[in-house]
């Protein structure tokens, strides 16, 4: 593992509070995930890849923005690993970088319709931008 990845891994673990070593690779998170079809890397892969330091592919993956934060994986994990928190931490490590926002305020008007509640906009901004 490169020094850089080593640092990134420990930052992700620290900020998420998740211990990926607890994972016993049962795949219940992935068996549970409602966003499975939209993701290229699935919850159990996030856990495994962070643990093994193979984080680069995750940083560039659209999967980061497909997690619905529905916490189903968090609740159902038999080991208390909380994969959603790990996905969030990886995403934050990307969007916290200068200019790396996934969603820009300027993009929003085009995405709106009349009925969409404010809640959707603020939530998406929280999830996708810094």
């Amino acid at each position: 593992m490169s020094k850089e990845m080593e640092n990134l891994k420990s930052e992700i673990i620290r900020s998420s509070g998740v211990n990926p070593k607890k994972c016993m690779r049962c795949g219940k998170c992935t068996g549970t995930c409602p966003a499975f079809d939209e993701m290229e890397y699935h919850p159990h892969q996030f856990v495994y890849m962070v643990e093994s330091g193979d984080i680069e592919p995750l940083l560039n993956s659209k999967s980061l923005y497909k997690c619905l934060t529905c916490f189903a994986c968090v609740d159902r994990c038999p080991r208390g690993v909380e994969p959603a928190k790990l996905v969030e931490a990886v995403r934050l490590s990307v969007i916290r970088k200068q200019g790396a926002n996934h969603l820009k305020a300027d993009d929003i008007p085009a995405l709106l319709d009349d009925e969409m509640p404010q809640q959707a906009i603020v939530s998406a901004l929280r999830k996708y931008s810094k």
Binding site: C26, K28, G31, H42, A72
Partner: protein, 664 residues
């Protein structure tokens, strides 16, 4: 003042090579109490032992020190030597000048100096030794087995076989336990009833065995060899000795809507019932929670139809007190509740069942007469999903699941899958697994057969959610090897629920002062070398109350426990280790510190009268050590603030004498 003899062994050149043995025996001559000191090539040889015996006689020795190899090697030898010469064997101390001196040091001079120091320490200790006699206690030659499952049955049969009377206490109306509910057994696929029920009959017919069914242990007192136990025989409202087990009452009882626990509540029984055809004892029991007569005083049908006149609505609980020399815990297991795992929809659909329920569904004596039919609509299921590790290996939160592997699920699931495919080849069977664990004779072959010969779909992954839709159960799961999420429309979902110790184990452990782990499994005296004994002397462990086990393991452990019990009951008297704690009543505060650290429950308290200096009498609570139970660890001696508690053979004064001798 002691008259001490010192015997320095050369151990050929093992000691004499690095230690000047002559100098050692010479130096120790001048120590207080020493009246004789010599050295010899091999003290442990017959000639060496004769030197010791002769010296004891000739010099009227009251204590001896042997400077030789480790006491772990020859302490027992020299104790026997001393005893043969009429000296109390606990008047012997060993100075370990081989393993802890000559073998680890190179220099003759410093090695000799150290040997002298070790010898002096031993002499200092012996000066304070007192003759010790192992305590003796009689043994009640009767055993109690708590739990009448296959573990309890096997233990009881083996003990009875050796000629000792044994009682089984079973809280249910019949013995047989979980195994009686099973259909087939892995890996040989014998029918469980075919191999269990003959054993149950053996138990019933063995005149050394008494069965207290529908009974519970209320109170346990005493200690190894001398337990006193109170057993509560719950009122079954049927005279056990009169009932012929004809079953007419169970057919005529008008109360038909009682969930049948033997069939996991999947059908009903009457208020008066015999759990199953081969029950032992085969007598009826009236369930007071449902019996109309007992609840309202109106009915009495069973009494009318009983030609034997066995029904007795006035029966009361009965307490029986009995003495036992040994107690075996065989309290067994239960599947955990599925309430906290409703992502699998156990509480939302009747067609989501546990593996034990599946056993009943496939059992010829079960609610469907052995036909595999869905509980909801009685249809034949075509797609069945088995989910492994439901609640096992789960440490997300303690109230939900169990951190341990339940051990038996992989094999019984393979069995279920295989038998289903065997009987109903038109069924698709999926097994979701995290790992398939099959250590055991012919186990992995069995699992492979399920895959290779019977075409069971084993999928590495876990079910995330089961959604009842229409008459289907939509199963969403992962297939980790294919990196896919699967959606299977199943007809039946079977959950391999984790197993946990029976709830009665915890209060029983408290009564026995036997220790338990955090999961409420009984702890072994030693996990490797004494696996069927509890650390509490006289208490033995049989079956799953000690940890998850399959039937062959349970039976072997049950027999092993029986062997230990037989070994104990075969003795007329128990000889204790005399190096036990003793409490000085005059100094004891009665504060309970010692009791709290004692791992064996060897300490009890009594109020004693003491004559005070002013001639008044004061009553004080003081500790008393049960020498038969104490194992001599000494934890109490340090917990005791006043120093009232001391350890024979390793007394405070003796250890201090050794410290002083070494540091001089």
């Amino acid at each position: 003042m002691q008259r001490i003899g010192v015997f320095v062994c050369w151990c050929g050149s093992n000691i004499a090579g690095t230690v000047d043995v002559e100098k050692v025996s010479e130096a120790l001559k001048n120590e207080p109490g020493v009246v004789f000191s010599t050295n010899y090539q091999y003290m442990c040889s017959q000639a060496g032992q004769d030197i010791i015996k002769d010296a004891i006689a000739e010099h009227k020795l009251t204590g001896i020190v042997v400077c030789s190899c480790s006491p772990r090697m020859h302490e027992a030898t020299f104790r026997k030597t001393a005893a043969a010469a009429g000296l109390n064997s606990y008047m012997v101390e060993i100075a370990n000048i081989r393993e802890q001196c000559s073998w680890v040091h190179k220099d003759m001079q410093s090695g000799t100096e150290k040997a002298i120091i070790l010898g002096k320490a031993a002499v200092a200790k012996v000066n304070l030794n007192a003759p010790l006699t192992p305590g003796e206690s009689p043994v009640t030659k009767r055993a109690l087995v708590i739990g009448g499952g296959i573990a309890g049955i096997q233990t009881a049969l083996d003990i009875a076989e050796a000629g000792f009377p044994v009682d089984i206490v079973e809280k249910k109306p019949t013995i047989g336990g979980k195994m009686a509910q099973l259909d087939k057994t892995f890996p040989t696929l014998d029918c469980a009833a075919c191999i269990l029920t003959p054993k149950m009959v053996d138990v019933a017919q063995n005149d050394k065995i008494r069965i207290f069914s529908y009974s519970e242990v209320e109170e346990i007192g005493g200690f190894v060899g001398n337990f006193t136990v109170k057993i509560k025989k719950k009122a079954r409202y049927v005279k056990e000795d009169v009932c012929t087990g004809c079953g007419i009452c169970t057919e005529k009882c008008p109360q038909k809507k009682v969930p049948n626990e033997f069939n996991m509540g999947m059908d009903n029984r009457r208020a008066v019932y015999i759990p199953f055809a081969q029950a032992v004892p085969k007598v009826a029991t009236i369930d007071p929670n449902y019996c109309t007569m007992l609840k309202t005083g109106k009915c009495g049908v069973c009494a009318k139809v009983c030609t034997a006149g066995a029904i007795d609505y006035t029966q009361k609980d009965e307490i029986i007190e009995e003495k036992y020399g040994a107690i075996v815990a065989a309290t067994g297991f239960n599947p955990i509740s599925m309430d906290k795992f409703d992502e699998f929809a156990y509480n939302q659909s009747k067609d989501v069942i546990t593996s034990l329920e599946f056993e009943r569904l496939t059992n010829a004596a079960g609610p469907t007469a052995g036909k595999l039919l869905r509980p909801s609509d009685g249809k034949h299921p075509h797609t069945i999903v088995f989910v492994q590790c439901v609640g096992s290996r789960c440490d997300a939160c303690a109230e939900k699941g169990k951190e341990y592997c339940s051990k038996i699920c992989c094999m019984y699931t393979a069995k279920h899958a295989m038998l289903t495919r065997d009987k109903y080849p038109d069924t698709d069977v999926y097994v979701f697994y995290i790992d398939v664990r099959t250590p055991g004779k012919a186990f992995d072959e069995f699992y492979r057969r399920a895959v290779e010969e019977y075409g069971v779909h084993y999928i590495k992954g876990m079910v995330g959610k089961v959604s009842p839709e229409g008459d289907k159960l939509m199963v969403r799961a992962s297939d980790l090897l294919a990196n896919k999420q699967l959606n299977i429309a199943a007809d039946l979902v079977v959950l391999a629920a984790a197993i946990e110790p029976d709830k009665s184990a915890r209060p029983l452990a408290t009564m026995l002062t036997a220790s338990m782990d955090t999961n409420d499994f009984f702890t072994e005296a030693h996990p490797k070398l004494r696996p069927v004994e509890s650390p509490t002397a006289g208490v033995f462990l049989s079956g799953t109350c000690q940890g998850p086990k399959d039937i062959p393991e349970t039976v072997s452990q049950a027999s092993a426990a029986a062997a230990k019990v037989i070994g104990l009951l075969a003795k007329d008297k128990l000889m204790g280790n005399p190096c036990v704690a003793q409490s000085n009543e005059l100094m004891c505060n009665g504060c309970s510190s010692c009791e709290r650290v004692c791992p064996y429950g060897a300490i009890t308290y009594a109020d004693k009268e003491f004559r005070m200096p002013d001639r008044t009498v004061a009553i004080r609570r003081v500790a008393m050590v049960n020498e038969a139970v104490c194992q001599g660890c000494g934890a109490c001696t340090v917990a005791c603030p006043s120093g009232a508690m001391d350890l024979k053979g390793f007394a405070t004064s003796q250890i201090i004498a050794e410290v002083d001798a070494i540091c001089k």
